[in-house]
């Protein structure tokens, strides 16, 4: 992995988000994020996968500053942005971090031409320059995302879903961000154009060194695009690692359940219902780490720590009491101990 540097572009530490629940006077709350640690290096794409309700969109909304986290830090190039801009994201933050949303039909105002969206971004962030410079920049942006400059005069309804999502990406690129958060950017597009958007994101990483957090429920596309995959379950990251390695050696019961559920034409055997039931039971047991206060439960007694899985080069770790390192290789003896090289676990802090 020499493509990206070792410094983190975006780093999230111990991020907690509680949502108020119940009536007006109720003090009850639901914990949507239970202390998330995640780092994205410069020029790296990290995929955040999980099912609906796992908290992946809440994490994105917190990083995008659309929600106020209850606790924790969000560091951009080392600066704690929650401290710097206390109440809402500053324009400076927006110029460093941009978002691409799921719905390209709803995120472009239908009464404006494409030119308007890009010009507005450029002007707001002081990157418009002279009219001639603006024109060059607009053409350049359109070409970068694989559209032709003459489409600047089009209205959103004249473009296909894929083309609209390219406009949304061009708008994000206009401010020259360091990090792009893409929340399910392809899930509303026709399947045959999805891969084109993924290829564009990859190109932006390779050519412009932009870091990305790619949020998806589609593991196959995460494996295709991302350098690393982080798996979220019940508001916590449960496993993370180099994409191919994680998909080949899923270790947390939830990751195994998820990976084995992805439709795969190459699959030969059929599912064993008993094996899947056992996996589900294991997932529920691991879930009690986060939810169950019962001291009888082994999982609830202490917070699980991160265990390294396999070759350290793959940066693959799992956070689960159920993990038993394989006893065969001597090098794996290390894995039984918590990893000190990894960010400090919130429980041991």
């Amino acid at each position: 992995m020499s493509r990206h540097s070792d410094t983190a572009a975006l780093e999230v530490k111990g991020l907690v988000k509680d949502f108020h629940s119940g009536g007006l006077f109720s003090r009850a709350s639901v914990r949507a994020l239970g202390g998330v640690d995640l780092a994205i290096r410069k020029g790296e794409i990290v995929a955040l996968v999980g099912e609906s309700g796992s908290g992946k969109s809440t994490l994105a909304r917190c990083i995008a500053r659309l929600e106020k986290p209850t606790e924790g830090q969000i560091r951009l190039n080392g600066t704690d942005v929650l401290k710097r801009d206390r109440f809402q994201a500053s324009r400076e933050y927006r110029s460093q971090l941009q978002m691409v949303f799921q719905d390209p039909f709803g995120s472009l105002n239908p009464v404006h031409r494409i030119e308007h969206f890009l010009t507005r971004s450029l002007t707001l962030h002081g990157k418009a320059g002279t009219p001639a410079q603006l024109r060059t920049r607009l053409d350049e942006l359109m070409t970068t995302v694989g559209l032709t400059p003459d489409m600047l005069n089009s209205y959103p309804h004249e473009l296909s879903g894929g083309q609209r999502q390219r406009v949304a990406i061009a708008r994000a690129l206009a401010v020259e961000p360091e990090v792009i958060l893409a929340d399910e950017p392809t899930s509303m597009l026709d399947v045959s154009v999805r891969i084109g958007i993924l290829n564009l994101m990859r190109k932006l990483r390779d050519e412009q060194g932009i870091s990305m957090l790619y949020i998806t429920h589609d593991l196959a596309s995460a494996r295709y695009l991302a350098d690393r995959i982080a798996v979220m379950f019940a508001g916590e990251l449960v496993e993370e690692g180099e994409s191919l390695d994680l998909m080949a050696n899923p270790t947390h019961p939830y990751t195994r359940l998820l990976v084995s559920a992805v439709p795969d034409p190459a699959r030969t055997g059929s599912y064993d219902p008993r094996e899947r039931a056992a996996l589900r039971a294991a997932v529920m047991e691991s879930a009690s780490c986060a939810f169950d206060g019962d001291p009888q439960q082994r999982c609830s007694a202490t917070e699980p720590v991160r265990h390294r899985v396999g070759d350290p080069a793959n940066e693959h770790w799992v956070r689960c009491h159920l993990y038993r390192p394989p006893a065969t290789a001597a090098s794996h003896a290390l894995s039984a101990e918590p990893l000190d090289a990894l960010p400090e676990d919130k429980a041991s802090a």
């Binding site: 099912e51 609906s52 694989g146 559209l147 032709t148 296909s160 894929g162 083309q163 390219r166 026709d190 399947v191 045959s192 154009v193 999805r194 891969i195 084109g196 290829n199 429920h217 593991l219 196959a220 596309s221 494996r223 295709y224 191919l244 998909m247 080949a248 359940l257 998820l258 990976v259 084995s260 559920a261 992805v262 439709p263 795969d264 034409p265 190459a266 699959r267 059929s270 599912y271 219902p273 899947r276």
Partner: protein
Amino acid sequence: MTVSQTSFGSHKPVLEIKDLTVKYRGDTRSTTAVDRVSFSIGTGEIFGLAGESGCGKSTIANAIMRLLRDPAEIAGGSIRFGGKDVLAMGQEELRRFRWQDVAMVFQSAMNSLNPVMTIGDQIVDIYTTHAGYTRKESLRRAAELLELVRIDPARLTSYPHQLSGGMRQRAVIAMAVALKPSLLILDEPTTALDVVVQQEIMAQIKELQRELGFSVLFITHDMSLMVELSHRMAVMYGGRIVETAKARDIHAAPLHPYTQALMGAFPPLTGPRVPLTGLADGVKFSNIADVQEVTPGHFVSPLPVLQGASS
């Protein structure tokens, strides 16, 4: 065109569709949503219909069920079910045909449950209306039915909102097979569900299919899921079938460029990362010719005229 396709195995076809054409009539112009489509489904066969939004696959399902309403109209072709002409059926015959012969599960079928009736009452309704069983007998069968899809029969007294999305979808599938239809139409049955639940539902459908032996028309845009589940499949584009073959053959060697693009849209789960291309924005196929048999059982439309890509 006449495409006589061998159905899976040596069984008699349950459903035979020939040159089906469906038009949506407007005031000034009409749109052909389904254009001279032919295929057949054998007994116990799972037949997949793949394509993107707007390709006409759901219109076909609705045509089979005779659910099309104005401005849609069947402009030509025939639909035969077990030898009977579906298009010539009268109201009473249609009522029996739906549910008893052919049942359909829609994309968000779980939202089609009546929110103010218990699951049990809704299943009992099917039995008392369509099969004429007594309430007691219907309740007994309803409990059996829920067990079949692995829902605790105690849930008979639950209301839909008390069940999870996956459970509701399974309840709807149970209701669809309540009268033991010989064909089950599944129109994107798992699109609104998470992948783990999707896998469980599909496994459930396969199990039911093995047990009850019905045929399945399975409609989806997810090629991976389709190849995994179907015996034979057809790929649709712009109302036309561009390729049809055994699912494994299409997966191994898709011949039509559109099928290739659709297959390429689903990255593999194993092996090294290979760059995929998909379909460029704005590429359109037109004047799709009738499919021709290239290898036994593998039909493909001859290479179409490519209209310039805009990117």
